[in-house]
């Protein structure tokens, strides 16, 4: 049954002038699960991610979202269809306040985004919902703070709040814990588990340990291809996976 899979890729390939960043990947993400895409540096995780979110065009292959072919769709339409991504570098609008950041995501629903003759006070009706979202990720005290002044972990939280504002069916998180301390990692992991309720999450991670108890399924990529797939238990014992990871400087 196709409905079980929210994302399916077939034969997905991205070639950069003879170099295959992603080669014939057939990834399937089950609805309602947290799915992690991991692998050593240069394994093609981020390329794969950019292909699925349409920020890159594949050289070959197909991508199905809810059974619909989105291989040639543009990134904005993919987002409108309910599949919203985050970025490796925390993607906020730095010189806008936390409230404004979240509001920009909410305002698309008003349908007035091209109205240049209307006062921006007309957006104030969204403030209540924006504050709720800020509270949901634990940054309620910072709504008037410009995003640039937030700590790294809070920027990540803001990014998630902004993403949640779109009420996505599916969240794609690009290394949500990159560059974080232990404390922040735990906080964001809790947050991810929280927001994954009733949604599907596909996350890219570098570190196998981080996703161990967070994800239902783990796909390991190496040199642009799928090396192994399964739960943490089976994947972490796979000799090929161990070799791929030992082959890099990663401990």
């Amino acid at each position: 049954m196709t409905d079980d899979w929210i994302i399916q890729t077939q034969d997905l390939t991205k070639e950069f002038k003879g170099f295959f960043a992603v080669r014939e990947v057939g990834l399937k993400v089950r609805r309602g699960t947290i799915h992690a895409l991991i692998g050593p540096n240069g394994a093609g995780k981020t390329t794969c991610f950019n292909l699925i979110t349409k920020f890159l065009q594949p050289s070959k292959g197909r991508i199905l979202y809810n059974g619909r072919d989105i291989t040639r769709a543009d990134p904005a339409s993919v987002a409108r269809a309910g599949m919203v991504r985050s970025f490796q570098i925390s993607a906020v609008f730095p010189h806008m306040t936390v409230l404004e950041n979240i509001r920009v995501a909410l305002q698309r629903g008003l349908g007035t985004s091209f109205h240049f003759w209307r006062s921006d006070q007309s957006l104030d009706v969204l403030n209540g919902r924006a504050r709720e979202l800020a509270a949901a990720v634990g940054i309620a005290d910072f709504v008037e703070t410009p995003a640039v002044e937030l700590s790294y972990g809070r920027k990540r939280a803001l990014e998630i709040a902004t993403t949640l504002a779109l009420e996505p069916e599916m969240l794609l998180l690009d290394e949500p814990m990159a560059g974080m301390g232990r404390e922040d990692i735990d906080r964001i992991a809790r947050l991810i588990r929280e927001v994954a309720k009733g949604r599907t999450v596909l996350m890219v991670e570098h570190n196998l340990a981080v996703v161990a108890d967070l994800s239902d399924t783990i796909t390991v990529l190496a040199r642009g291809q799928i090396l192994a797939e399964g739960d943490y238990h089976s994947v972490s014992r796979d000799p090929q996976v161990i070799e791929a990871y030992m082959g890099t400087a990663h401990g």
Partner: protein, 308 residues
């Protein structure tokens, strides 16, 4: 808030009294370039797009207004409307062709298109080549206001300037302006929130081109002249200088920049080629030392002293 209102009142009062103290034609020239720079700033300062072809909208609208009024006997309001409409249409064409390019490529495409407009104007008979369209009659606005009266003309120009600046201010502080800010701050993120950012950039481009056309049309009325200078790349460069000098991304910066540059040109006109050199030096100083421009630096100074 109160302080802002006081300042606003002072500014409006000064603008109303100005023609009795300063030569009105100079003021009107500065106001036209002020509006041009404000329109340009909507793109550079608030959308993050550097167009190097804005003279095409400014200068071509000037030709259209001049031609309509002189050859077809159009009334001033219709002449301006024609110029503005043509500028808007050109903005749409330029925008569609350029908007997919980023950074320097965007600037180059706009420059190339503007050069094409320039060469068209050199060749086309209706522009009268090097002579330009001269002695354009000013007529009566709405059949009532005699624009040949310097003071009447000044207040009309001031009103048009006010409306133009208000439109830009409104656009910046609107739902549309919020999306523009988001695009300028982080375009990939804006896309990932489902915004088709190219359409927003195109809308901003057309709006900016339209208002640049309005500035050009009104300038024709003031000088009774439409000439090649207005469509030349030099004018495109000048509006960049005005905006940077005054402070891009500030509401009043471009107006201040326009007044400073116009003053230099008017009062130092006797020294000829040196004006260009002085402009060059100012440009270098601004981009190396005063990145925020006159108004930007002043605002930063006030902010700093307030925090202390």
């Amino acid at each position: 808030m109160l302080q802002r209102r006081i300042w606003g009142t002072v500014l409006v009062a000064a603008a109303l009294a100005a023609p009795y103290a300063v030569y009105p034609v100079f003021l009107m020239k500065a106001l036209c370039f002020g509006l041009f720079a404000v329109a340009f700033n909507l793109l550079l300062g608030y959308t993050g797009l550097l167009s190097f072809g804005h003279a095409a909208f400014f200068g071509f609208a000037a030709y259209v207004t001049g031609h309509a009024m002189k050859e077809w006997g159009a009334t001033p309001e219709l002449g301006i409307l024609a110029g503005v409409a043509v500028a808007a249409a050109m903005g749409l064409v330029f925008g569609v062709l350029a908007i997919r390019r980023l950074g320097i490529y965007f600037a180059m495409v706009t420059l190339a298109l503007a050069q094409m407009v320039y060469f068209f104007c050199v060749q086309a008979p209706f522009t009268h080549g090097e002579d330009g369209i001269q002695a354009i009659p000013r007529g009566k606005l709405f059949g009532l206001l005699p624009l040949d009266d310097m003071y009447v003309l000044y207040y009309v120009v001031l009103a048009v300037f006010g409306i133009g600046v208000w439109i830009v201010w409104r656009a910046i502080h609107s739902p549309f302006g919020q999306v523009l800010a988001a695009i300028r701050e982080n375009e990939p993120r804006a896309i990932s929130l489902g915004y088709r950012t190219e359409r927003f950039k195109l809308a901003a481009f057309v709006l900016s081109a339209t208002l640049a056309g309005l500035a050009g049309s009104v300038k024709t009325l003031v000088f009774q002249l439409a000439s090649l200078t207005d469509v030349q790349w030099h004018t495109s460069g000048e509006v960049v200088l005005m905006t940077l000098l005054g402070g891009m991304g500030t509401a009043l910066g471009p107006v201040v920049g326009a007044f400073v540059v116009t003053t230099i040109e008017n009062y130092l006109a006797d020294i000829g080629a040196w004006v260009t050199i002085i402009q060059g030096v100012i440009f270098v100083l601004v981009v190396t030392l005063f990145r925020r421009g006159i108004v930007g630096e002043a605002l930063a100074f006030i902010e700093r002293s307030r925090r202390r």
